[in-house]
């Protein structure tokens, strides 16, 4: 900077030979390294990259702990013993008929050797010897058999009982409750939110909009824990009063779902309204000029034109409903249950995570690791929905810009 300034003043003041001027110009305008600028840019880039690190952190931690959940082995006594001596080579072993039944695919441990069950006929079991990198060895009659209680991905994603105390980790019990509360929430929020959006963008006077929009903002800004209180102390008694206290339990998914619905109405309405107001005025005029009424214009022209934006709002709302935590933690009940009755208590994925991690939890236990497996499922579900929603929004913007 300073060099340029002095060059300018000097060049103006005295006649400098052309050759010299060129030389000076070259050196003055030459690109010079600016350390400060580079450092600042590097710092700012770092700030941006931090967000990537956050995502990586989430993915790594959830993935890492989930992996431990699926790979950690717990050996449980089967209360069976070998009924005869076994040498290192034989594939057929005899066991006592005590304790729990064996099934093909079970992983057994005798002493330091691990065996995999192939077939079971009465007390005669054929096995593959020395699996999981262990060496086959001879065992004497009376040696006890232990079974591996590893949770398989199939069991995790394929069963419906969640009861960590007895080693049942079927996530559908939790997913089902999450889907129930979310579905109920969407049944409330989508029609009401969309109706509010249409009202605000097509019908409301500017003055009404001025009043209504801040009210919706307040509704969106109330902490979810307060909504939880609302669900438990107003919505649940209301449901019990309508449907009878025998039908509706104190903790139930219906109440939580309805209140989540109220919570996400502002989200649906404000995003949908943005989509509706983005529809060009000229389309509305075209419809009116053909003799359409206000309703026909709004519903048959503006709404279809804004459909993708509205779809994006709906999907984002679904994602928000699935991830909502405090309302379900307070009002939906504690203890996983696989039920389709909205008046019964059931625990959602988020509700379970909050309840278990709120208590005393020892790190690296099955319980602790299972939370991260749930978290991973939750993360993937919401991430998928968010990505779809953003795609739709981007395409919609391109259509009207």
């Amino acid at each position: 900077m300073g060099a340029i300034k002095s060059w300018v003043s000097r060049a103006r003041g005295i006649a400098v030979p052309t050759v010299m001027m060129n030389e000076r110009r070259d050196s003055a305008l030459h690109r010079r390294p600016r350390v400060r600028e580079s450092l600042i840019e590097a710092f700012l880039l770092l700030c941006g990259v931090l967000s990537i690190l956050t995502t990586l952190g989430i993915v790594y931690e959830l993935g890492h702990e989930s992996l431990r959940f699926f790979t950690s082995e717990q050996w449980e006594a089967t209360n069976k013993e070998l009924a005869a001596d076994v040498d290192a080579a034989t594939q057929t072993i005899l066991v006592t008929n005590t304790g729990s039944e064996l099934h093909p695919g079970d992983n057994l441990r005798v002493g330091s050797e691990e065996l995999m069950v192939l077939t079971v006929v009465g007390d005669t079991v054929t096995v593959e010897r020395g699996v999981q990198g262990t060496a086959p060895s001879a065992h004497v009659s009376g040696a006890s058999l232990e079974r591996s209680e590893r949770v398989t991905l199939g069991e995790f994603l394929g069963t419906t009982e969640w009861n960590p105390q007895i080693g049942k980790f079927g996530i559908w019990a939790l997913v089902n409750a999450t889907l129930m509360t979310s579905l109920i929430a969407l049944l409330v929020a989508l029609p009401v939110g969309l109706a509010v959006a249409i009202y605000l963008s097509e019908y409301a006077t500017p003055r009404a909009r001025q009043v209504l929009k801040p009210v919706l903002e307040v509704l969106a800004g109330v902490p979810t824990v307060v909504y939880g209180y609302f669900a438990l102390t107003l919505m649940t008694p209301l449901l019990r009063w309508i449907f009878g206290a025998d039908t509706v339990k104190i903790y139930n998914t219906a109440s939580a779902g309805l209140v989540i619905g109220i919570l996400i109405i502002p989200l649906v309405s404000s995003m949908s309204e943005d989509a509706l107001t983005a529809v060009p005025r000229s389309l509305r005029e075209a419809a009116y000029a053909l003799g359409a009424t206000k309703l026909e214009t709004a519903v048959k022209v503006v709404l279809p034109a804004a459909l993708s934006g509205i779809a994006a709002a709906f999907i984002l709302a679904a994602s928000r409903a699935i991830g909502e935590t405090m309302i379900v933690a307070i009002a939906a009940g504690a203890g996983a249950a696989f039920t389709f009755n909205p008046f019964e208590p059931a625990e959602t994925m988020t509700g379970h995570i909050v309840r278990i991690s709120g208590g005393d939890l020892s790190y690296d236990s099955m319980d602790y690791n299972s939370l991260f497996a749930i978290g991973l499922v939750l993360f993937l579900m919401t991430l998928g929905l968010n990505i779809i929603s953003q795609r739709i929004v981007r395409r919609f913007r391109e259509a009207y810009e």
């Binding site: 006077t205 060009p280 419809a287 053909l290 003799g291 034109a305």
Partner: protein, 264 residues
Amino acid sequence: MSEQLAPTDNPYAIEAVGLHVYYDQFLAVKDVNLRIRRHKITAIIGPSGCGKSTVLRSFNRMNELVPTARTEGQVFFNGVDIYQPAVDPVRVRQRIGMVFQKPNPFPKSIYENVAWGARINGFRGDMDALVYESLQQAALWEEVKDKLHQSGLSLSGGQQQRLCIARTIAVKPDIILMDEPASALDPIATLRIEQLMQDLSSAYTIIIVTHNMQQAARVSDYTAFFSLDEQDRAGVLIEYDETDRLFTRPQSKITDDYITGRFG
């Protein structure tokens, strides 16, 4: 009401009497008295900001869509004042269609663009035939007959504008209002629109707002010249006459100045 709006022997399609239009406190158009002849093309010309579009939009009550707009005076359509309380603006707009400056097809298929207006207005005939006829009349059929189910937005600008015209005539209006329909188009597309207007003028009364004097001279039978009033900056009707006469022997000095390019 539908009886009232039925065609009569009245030679005028539209008669504006003492028409004032305000936006809030601002007087946009002052005391317009104008009689538009049936089945003729009438052009409205004038410098920008003189209320040409406002006048046009007051003929089918499109102005009402601007919340601050207010209209005084009378506009007779087939002898009925369309501003009297009993008249439904929706009905008015079915009978007095409009084509806009920028082509604005719905984001629907070509077929659906034409059929939509007819459908909401309770068309009882054969829809395919109506779509065919309308596209034929709009000189678009040959170009789109193989892609009726593609989006109307896939057409070129000129085609889109003809689609908008087809859409308008599909509801069988008496009058078509055109608000600078060719200003966003290239010269060739403009020419086709102008030809189309002349073809349509046998069946429809057409009123066109244009900033292009040559266009007005080319297509219209009558021309209304609007300008700004010196005192209150409101649009006023300066001169209204047969197009040939207005362009060759204008009665008003202002008109003369305008058409000879001395202002505007």
